[in-house]
Each structure stands twice: as C-alpha cells, then as structure tokens.
C-alpha cells in the first residue's frame, strides 16, 4: 500500500465522497484507497459509513495545519476499535439497559480477569457523562449503587463505542465523527 493519508484528507475537503470518487480523484485503486482510509478513520480523522467518507473536526484541523499524517501507531491517539474491550462491551450494555450504575455494569460485564475494571469503567462513564451522553437518574438513597445514569436519545449515537482517550482528554465518537474535548483535570481527582 502506498500511504497518501494527507492526499486522501485533501480529497474530502469539499465534502463527503464515496470510496470510488476518492480513488478516481487521486488516481488510486479502490483497494488502496480503502487501505488509506482505514487508519484515518481509526485516528478519528475521517468518518466512514456505508462506503461514504467525510472529514471529522479533527480531520479538518489536521488538513488546515497540513500536519503530517503517518500510517503507523498513533502513539496513544488512535481510537480503539476492538469490539471485545471492556469499554466496548460497556457501551453495548448502556444501549441495552434503561439505566445503569458502575456497579450494574461491573455485575453484568466483569468476570474478575480485568485489570482495575472499576477504575477503567468509572473513568469511561465520567468521560461520557462530561461529553453529554447521559442524563443522571435521581438517586433514591446513598449506598452501594452509587450514581445512576441513562443514555439519552441523543447520546445513543450508534453501535460503535465512543473512544475515551485519557492521555489527550478527548472523547471521539465514530458514529457521528464528533470529538469532545473533556480535559484531563476533571478526572484526576476522582477514582
């Protein structure tokens, strides 16, 4: 594969395009174009749906700055797409359940083999809450069930789990292409 990440981004400058349109613009094969699009989507720079691709806000920023985009590891910036991760499963559980707490998710998802599941899921819930995905449920009593949330209609954006990148303090939603800058300070003190 010939890596032409920035060229592919530039081809999307004027709006969404199909894979074959990008390939025709750049004189590339469709297979090569798809191979270029995959890492860009994984980094949250491009949103792809049903063979149609468009720039995300981050993609526009990269294009405007003419920053070099490599095809290699994202150095902690890549969006996690692994479907079997605890967060991906937690997102599915949030979409299934009407309301949930951290304990509910742990009771449903954890098998004891996860490393610091409470910290991982707790941080993910707080990040998505800060990004506006949830509405709080009224607390019936203080106790082991803790804070309860429900995924709002607008927050239920699609089957792909939004990625929380703690190092950068951003939530990236592959379903909509939106990026939420949450910041890191909000999460530093709570665990």
């Amino acid at each position: 594969m010939t890596w032409r990440g920035l060229s592919v981004l530039a081809a999307l400058r004027d709006g969404p395009k199909l894979t074959r349109q990008i390939a025709a613009d750049l004189g590339m094969s469709s297979a090569n174009t798809r191979a270029n699009l995959a890492p860009l989507a994984a980094r949250g720079l491009v949103r792809s749906r049903e063979g149609c691709h468009q720039l995300t806000r981050e993609g526009l920023e990269v294009l405007a700055a003419r920053r070099e985009v490599t095809s290699g590891p994202g150095m902690g910036k890549a969006v996690t797409h692994h479907r079997g991760t605890l967060r991906a499963r937690a997102w599915r559980a949030m979409r299934i359940r009407d309301a949930f707490s951290l304990d509910d998710l742990m009771l449903l998802l954890c098998d004891g083999g996860e490393k610091d599941a409470a910290g991982n899921l707790g941080g993910y819930i707080r990040a998505l809450a800060a990004a506006g995905y949830f509405a709080p449920m009224r607390r019936q009593h203080a106790g082991r069930h803790g804070e309860r949330w429900r995924l709002t209609l607008a927050g239920n954006t699609g089957p792909e789990a939004p990625a929380w990148n703690k190092a950068r303090g951003v939530v990236i939603d592959q379903n909509t292409g939106r990026t939420f800058a949450i910041g890191r300070r909000h999460f530093a003190a709570r665990r």
Binding site: R83, A90, R92, M106, L109, D111, P159, E160
Partner: protein
C-alpha cells in the same frame, strides 16, 4: 463485583453455541423463557454484550413496521423509507454479519396472529441471523401454536429457579458483608431462587448489618426479621432458624 455464572447461564451458553453450529440455516431461532426475576435478561444481556448482538425490547404497541424501525436504529441504519425498502436495506446490511438479534419481552410480538414474530421469522430466514426470543414462562406454549415459527426454533432454554449453590455464589460476590452458610440457605428459601428477590434480600441484610455495625451476619442475628414479602398472599417472609439450614451450616 462481577458476573456470576449460574447453572442457567451454563445451559444458555451451551444452547447458544449449539444454535451457532446449527445444520439448517433457517432454524436459527432460540427461545428463552422462565419466571419473572429468574435472571433471563441479565444472562442474555451479558451474552449480547460479548457477541455484539443487537438487542431489542418489544413493546405492547409493536407492529412489523415498528420492529423494523427499532432494528434499524440499534444497527445504526437510517430508519426511513417504506417498510419493504427498510426490510431490504436491513437484510442487505445484516445478512452474513453473524450478528445475532435478541428480542426481550417477546410476548409483545404475539398479538395479531403473531404478525411481528412472523416478520422476525422472515427476517431471520432471509438473513440467516440467529434470533434469541426471551419471554415469560407461558411463551413456549403460545409460540408452539405457530408451527411455521416453532419449527425454526433450534433450542429452548428454560430458566429455572436458582439453586442454593448459585444463590451462595451471588451472596459471596455481591454482599458487602460476610454471610454464614446458614444465612445463604435462608436467602435461597426466602427468595425461592428468584435472582431479583435475592438481590433485594441481600440489600436488606446489608442495611441491617450497617445499622447494627455488623461485619458478619448469621441467621441467629436476623431470626424473626422480615426480609421480603409474598405479594400474592400479602404475608411477610421472615428469617427462621430451621433445623435444615442449621444442619447444613455445620
């Protein structure tokens, strides 16, 4: 705190695996039924999150169109256009994806001569998707009236009341205080093995333990305490120190 693998979970997992390995492509449906509070939705949700299944909860006002729109929404597909077009788009997108579909509260697919269930069967046939129907204890006999649907059901799993061993595991995993073996058996008796009731009773025991500053709780400390209610007979369920539970504890 973690998911407790009960005997019902083991039987469900084996059945789900068997459906995935089925011979006839069109026999891709599975029926899960049992008493309310027996943990059906909990176990099926756990499986659904693992395999990435699409999960729908049927409503009392479901129609075939309503079902298609809900399915499109959870699959991330725009739910617009005529029903026939939506059906084709969904089939095109989901066929061959190996994504199972779960329909909870499946009783609501049965009104109007099972019109919604017929649509689900049609969708399952054409897309070769595995469909898991989850319902109450009487759904089996109701679905059996529709032979063209029932013949597509490859596996039937009945969720039975939890065993004393299962209830003991749940107490160990969830209770924030230590419970003696005799008390776990008493929790099983009071709950009749219904998981939802087990969770309520554990919460009540925790509250009593916290109020009284107890780290470990035994039957003797709770004897005569009301931990649950039988709402059918409007009678309280109280802890009692039976010879059986005392004998098992030792």
């Amino acid at each position: 705190m973690r998911f407790v693998k009960t005997e019902n979970y083991v039987r469900f997992s084996q059945a789900a695996h068997a459906v995935e390995q089925r011979g006839a492509a069109e026999a891709g449906m599975m029926l899960v039924y049992g008493l309310p509070g027996s943990g059906k939705s909990h176990v099926v949700s756990n499986w659904a999150t693992k395999v990435g299944a699409l999960y729908l909860r049927a409503n009392v006002d479901w129609t075939p169109r309503y079902f298609l729109v809900e399915l499109a929404k959870v699959a991330g597909i725009d739910p617009y256009g005529p029903s026939s077009q939506l059906f084709s788009v969904l089939r095109d997108r989901l066929a061959g994806s190996l994504t199972p579909l779960v329909i909870d509260e499946a009783e609501f697919t049965l009104p109007n001569n099972a019109a919604v269930l017929e649509k689900i069967r049609d969708f399952s046939d054409r897309s070769e998707m595995t469909v898991v129907l989850v319902g109450m204890e009487r759904i089996r006999s109701k679905v059996a009236r529709y032979q063209q649907i029932f013949s597509r059901i490859a596996q039937v799993v009945e969720f039975k009341p939890a065993s004393p061993v299962d209830v003991g595991h749940v107490c160990d995993e969830l209770a924030e205080i230590e419970m003696t073996q005799a008390l776990k058996l008493e929790v099983h008796r009071l709950s009749s093995g219904r998981m939802r009731e087990v969770l309520n009773i554990i919460a009540n025991i925790e509250r009593i333990a916290e109020t009284n500053g107890l780290n470990q709780v035994d039957v003797a400390q709770l004897e005569g305490t009301v931990l649950s209610y039988n709402w059918e007979t409007c009678t309280p369920k109280t802890v009692r120190r039976s010879a059986k539970s005392t004998a098992r504890a030792h």
